[in-house]
């Protein structure tokens, strides 16, 4: 479960950011490095819902808790459980 989620989220992020840096450096800050913007955030939430069956409401999205690939995986796992 964890491995699968890990891979799914990283694949989604790779597609959204257009770089495999998210895989090689999963603690990179996506917003500070301007790899993600608000449009990408919405896409991420939609993909999480469609591919991982994880529901996140937009007002529940706190940038500070979702800023790196690792943090995003953690959040997704928390909600899938």
């Amino acid at each position: 479960m964890e491995q699968k989620m890990n891979d799914l989220v990283l694949t989604i992020l790779e597609e959204l950011t257009g770089t495999d840096e998210v895989r090689s450096n999963p603690d990179i800050n996506l917003f500070e490095e301007s790899l993600m913007d608000s449009l990408n955030v919405v896409e991420l939430l939609v993909e999480l819902e469609e591919q991982c069956d994880v529901n996140v409401a937009p007002s529940d999205f706190d940038k500070a808790k979702w800023s790196t690939p690792n943090m995003i995986i953690e959040q997704a796992l928390e909600r899938a459980a």
Binding site: S34, L39, V41, E43, L45, V46, E50, A57, P58, S59
Partner: protein, 397 residues
């Protein structure tokens, strides 16, 4: 009995300082005097909505009762069911009082005065509607009517925000700040209130009473049309900022002293390097509300249902929805709508430019000079927006 609008006169602050003393003493010991806070709240609301304003007071009470009941009914319903149309009906009902109160006067049915309107109804609507939305999303699992009422009637932010979020407010309500943290809050709160005096009472007052008429005369009496308009634009923009930012500082300062960390509304907006950044710095609690509850939700629906082929189109449509709504929210005049349209257009262009820049990172220079240039351009684009917002162009029609 003295009746005062929030932050209207220095006297309001003196009364506040005396009234909250027991609260401050309790908070300094790490406790919240809930019953006393309610008493102070009722007293301050009576000061605003009593006396000659009693009609507003009745409308206010009816509004609170209505919203509390509506959320209660929806929360009860949501426990077992989750139909789309019930959700939409409840959201519509929760904003209905605002719509009616704005439309009635313009139809002149009630002689210009809305019978169901009251000071702050526009801001309260954001608090009420988010409750329905977050109940739907399952973010608020248990509906506590008394807490919701306290959230709605929290008097420091009642008339003009900042617009708080229920879950954030509830956290503060249940968990008073630690003694150490409260000491910091008091310092910050007093600092905010005094900055508010500088912004609102001194600079805002000076700009509106002295400089604004001067700029008007320059264009009117002395016939320097362009120069007059230009200086009116600068002065009005500064006035809008200092007046409103000062007001927000009062509200934030009062909240801090009461042990609530109401979000800030302004973060050096005139230093923004583009329009997107501007909206992250100007009237933040409003733009974040629209971002979370209009733009992002609409985007998710559009992307889920694949309404548009391109994500960019979907985003642009959502931006137009957001800013046109924001424009209309300010009032039903053509220049508020135009203001919304102007900013929707700007943010779509801004996004297109950011995409272009991302693709051509190497060819486009980015250094101190370009950043300064970007800031100056943004200031002027923003100020021109405020000129539209001010209704300045109404006289030319």
């Amino acid at each position: 009995m003295i009746f005062l609008s929030p932050y209207e006169r220095p006297l309001y602050f003196v009364i506040f300082a005396v009234a909250i003393l027991p609260l401050v003493i309790a908070l300094a010991r790490g406790r919240r005097l809930q019953w006393y806070q309610s008493l102070v709240t009722l007293f301050f609301l009576y000061m605003t909505f009593g006396g000659a304003n009693y009609k507003q007071g009745i409308a206010f009470l009816a509004y609170i009762a209505f919203q509390t009941l509506l959320c209660g009914i929806y929360a009860h319903y949501r426990k077992e069911h989750n139909a789309n149309f019930i959700f939409y009906i409840c959201v519509a009902l929760s904003i209905l009082p605002l719509i009616v109160s704005k439309i009635l006067p313009s139809l002149a049915i009630t002689g210009g005065n809305s019978i169901i309107g009251f000071l702050g109804i526009s801001y309260l609507t954001f608090k009420a509607a988010q409750m329905i939305i977050e109940l739907r999303d399952g973010l608020i699992k248990e509906y506590k009517p008394l807490r919701f009422i306290q959230f709605l009637i929290f008097f420091p932010t009642i008339s003009a925000g900042p617009i708080d979020r229920y879950r954030r407010f509830e956290e503060d309500l249940i968990h008073p700040p630690s003694k150490e943290h409260y000491t910091k809050l008091v310092q910050k709160g007093i600092h905010e209130i005094f900055l508010g005096f500088l912004y609102n009472y001194i600079l805002g007052h000076y700009l509106s009473q002295f400089l604004l008429p001067l700029a008007t005369d320059l264009g009117g009496k002395y016939g320097h049309q362009f120069l007059g308009s230009l200086s009116y634009m600068y002065v009005y923009s500064l006035f809008l900022f200092f007046d409103f930012a000062g007001y927000s500082k009062f509200a934030v300062g009062f909240s801090y002293l009461m042990g609530y960390e109401t979000p800030i509304n302004f973060n050096k907006p005139f230093l923004s390097k583009n329009i997107k950044e501007f909206w992250n710095r100007w009237h933040m609690s409003l733009s974040f509300w629209f971002r979370d509850f209009v733009y992002m939700r609409l985007m998710m629906t559009l992307l889920h249902k694949k309404v548009f082929k391109s994500r960019v189109t979907a985003s642009n449509v959502a931006y137009f929805a957001l800013f046109l709504l924001m424009g209309i929210w300010h009032g039903g005049t053509w220049y508020y709508v135009a203001y919304g349209f102007y900013h929707a257009l700007l943010i779509c262009l801004n996004d297109a430019w950011l995409r272009f820049k991302k693709k051509h990172k190497k060819q486009i220079p980015s250094n101190k000079a370009t950043k300064i240039l970007a800031t100056i351009c943004t200031i002027h684009i923003v100020c021109f927006g405020f000129l539209i917002f001010s209704g300045y162009f109404d006289r030319f029609l």
